[in-house]
Symmetry: C2
Subunit: 463 residues, 2 copies
């Protein structure tokens, strides 16, 4: 008999159908002469209720074993459920217990646990309702991202994790090494001798795949990355991870306008996809975690995003009838409070702010004609602030060289990046999206550590 997934049975199972399920007991209720167990196999938020009658073979022995956390195989017949809130239940004809879970020791008894506590048992927390829902949504979102780009014929390119380039994120880079740290080899002038290291030079964990994605876009036109990135930033906040996944599309023959169009279409697509794929999980988040997540998703799906320039944004913030903690001033970066004001209060929908001052943006962003701003854009979402950051890239060799030097970097370190402008350069653009931020945004989960299976943060790398 083929094992059936509980999500399928709950949706389409018919009375009198013979089935076998395999999963873990969530709860047990003993009554006189019979008992209920709720079984979950991770395929859905909802459990399948199983009825154990006392005429079941070895009823008493089984009953002692099927505590919360135990793993079981149940064969039986589906019947209409007299209970409220469930269409069907499973009348067991045989129960096999694979593994017990001592009720005195198993940490996940039937009660609410704090997310802090659950992080300490990261190897078990996916068995709870909330984390189960999070990782189903995470999967649905990840899959939607691939589908979006593959449908549009973008190539998924794997940019390197280990990199010798430190041109972005200086100071926030993890070093990757094979040197003997007890006795680090030194050169004659007492510098670390990285020529003896595995790669013959100092190597780091990547902070972004963008520069390499540009390489690939110059051959395949449209590409995207989807992989892990790293920050050695000592930020113990609910929004920072040392290891997180990032999505970075890069498009040749594309300008800032096209970049914004793609970002908007992309966000709409992935929200729509997740709502379709995980309706019960999203309903759960709306009921239990944050009662605005469904409205927010609908807002994203159904509204054209507002588009304003940074200069307009500053003017609007200056006119705002409220006090900000940080001053509003042309040339300074927008703070979270400013971003939220624009998206949540003023426009009440996602806002794309573009053409930021050159002084606060990266060297590779295309200089606008006035030379005061660059063709950058950020998508600001209600409740979360910046969710996407992108730009048209500087495709003009001379301008790019000038910008690199003006930031105190050496153009020779970026010889290959500059070659892309020497040989067949084209206008191109792309953006970056922090995957965990999006999952947090979708689910309403307050702490980013609860939307990645095994979070890496300062002083924490368990499991």
């Amino acid at each position: 008999m083929v094992t059936q997934r509980i999500v399928e049975l709950l949706r389409n199972g018919q009375p009198d159908e013979s089935v076998t399920i395999k999963g873990w007991v969530r709860t047990k209720r003993e009554l006189k002469g019979f008992a209920f167990i709720e079984v979950n196999d991770g395929s859905s938020m909802a459990n399948l209720q199983v009825v154990l009658n006392s005429d079941l073979p070895e009823y008493e022995a089984v009953l002692k074993q099927v505590n919360t956390g135990a793993s079981v195989e149940v064969t039986g017949v589906l019947v209409e459920s007299p209970a409220k809130g469930q269409r069907i239940e499973l009348k067991a004809s045989s129960v096999k217990v694979y593994g017990e879970a001592d009720p005195e020791k198993y940490p996940l008894q039937k009660k609410r646990h704090s997310f802090e506590f659950l992080r300490e048992i990261g190897h078990l927390r996916s068995r709870t309702n909330t984390l189960g829902a999070v990782f189903r949504v995470r999967n649905a979102c990840a899959n939607a991202i691939h589908q979006f780009f593959q449908e549009r014929e973008f190539l998924w390119v794997h940019t390197p994790i280990i990199t010798a380039s430190d041109c972005e994120g200086a100071g926030e880079l993890f070093t990757v090494t094979n040197l003997n740290l007890k006795d680090v080899p030194k050169t004659d002038n007492q510098e670390i001798d990285f020529s003896q290291d595995f790669f013959g030079r100092r190597a780091y964990l990547t902070v972004s795949g963008q520069l390499e994605a540009e390489v690939m876009a110059m051959a395949f036109s449209n590409v995207y990355t989807f992989g892990p990135t790293f920050r050695a930033e000592n930020s113990n906040t609910s929004r920072h991870l040392a290891e997180f996944w990032m999505v970075e599309p890069e498009m040749a023959f594309c300008d800032l306008q096209g970049d914004m169009d793609l970002a908007e279409e992309f966000l709409r697509y992935i929200f729509k996809s997740v709502l379709e794929k995980c309706p019960e999980d999203m309903e759960f988040f709306n009921q239990r975690i944050d009662n605005t997540v469904l409205a927010t998703a609908e807002n994203i799906i159904n509204n054209q995003f507002e588009r304003i320039t940074y200069t307009d944004a500053i003017a609007l913030l200056e006119k705002a009838d409220r006090k900000f903690e940080f001053p509003v001033e042309w040339g300074a970066d927008l703070q979270s409070e400013h971003e939220r004001y624009l998206a949540e209060e003023l426009f009440k929908k996602p806002v794309i702010v573009s053409n930021y001052p050159v002084g606060i943006k990266a060297f590779y962003m295309r200089l606008d004609d006035d030379e005061k701003t660059v063709s950058a854009m950020d998508v600001l979402a209600p409740k979360i602030g910046e969710i996407i950051g992108g730009s048209q890239r500087e495709e003009r060799l001379d301008v790019l060289e000038r910008r690199i030097k003006s930031q105190g970097m050496n153009p020779e370190d970026l010889w290959w990046y500059l070659d892309l402008r020497r040989y067949g350069t084209v206008p191109h653009a792309g953006f970056g999206l922090g995957f965990e931020r999006v999952v947090q945004f979708m689910t309403g989960m307050g702490n980013i550590r609860d939307v990645i299976p095994f979070p890496r943060t300062p002083l924490s790398a368990e499991f």
Copy 2:
């Protein structure tokens, strides 16, 4: 006018259709009063031939610019091509040159380049026919992997890249650190003081996501990883990378038999998918790189794999009418020559060898009843040898503890992994597949450095 992809025009473009294309010039041929350029946008192996007539605006100026490597936008009308080997060509009415490529300097002139040379210009090599085809096939294969698992409702889980666990791959681990390497902090007894490091302990780059995938399978039943893994192995061979991508499905309530079934179905699916998605690229590999790749793919798709035990394999090797370099002996690992003999000569199709001696396999593989072998399996493919390695996992707490100790490891370091056997343990199984090995196998590419965009190998981390 919307830009059209060259692959689409070559397949479905009709004479008299007005189109705009954007791409890079591959070759230019000047004739009396007109010229041909071949334009490629990365969407296909084949170029679109563009005819430039001398009545084109600024014909002479354009002609000087459209050298190999230059980027162009061409608008015009499709016409039937009088030339052999192409159905249509594009009669240009206007050409815009975005970026030139100096014929004296651009390294990719029209001639054969060695793969060694191309590796030195890794930022440009994707613009060649072969590497272009490789990365289209790589993308198609990666996408097929996701499709295969998503169709079967496996969750894609992101296991950690940075890990504090060194229980696999000791000696082949890269250290990830934020310590000041010029002055590494030491404890009182002169050990490195990793408590001062970012994670408060020594951290490494992962060699496998399996143990964490098991955690997730114990909540969601069926999961898979698809992410980067690392080996600090000083192997300068055509089959080793320090950074490579791995696929690792893990299934609860699954035994070795089910594991083998999935592996077989999986390989068949991805080969079929790639043949359908990239027929021209696969044809190219068959013609230019290895004239057996299409036959091999058909062999995988159309044959049931042979399944034999390790013990049977040894008996067959002992009976083989040929000399092996390495001795054939029960208890020793199969060498590449043995694996290839079985798959290529004896069975002439993929072979799954199972139940290997306990002494040569990892601690987590399930001990068979005879206690001499474990429920491990390797899929051996003609021409490449081992392509998949998997096992049923040891789900019995006492046996697992014993095995961990017998390998000189401390069970306490694996407390969370053992908890999976303490609470609701179930039979489970999974396998690992080196993604680059598969792409190499599919394409016939001789060196693994040519199937990943930016290879990381000893002394090499450029780009």
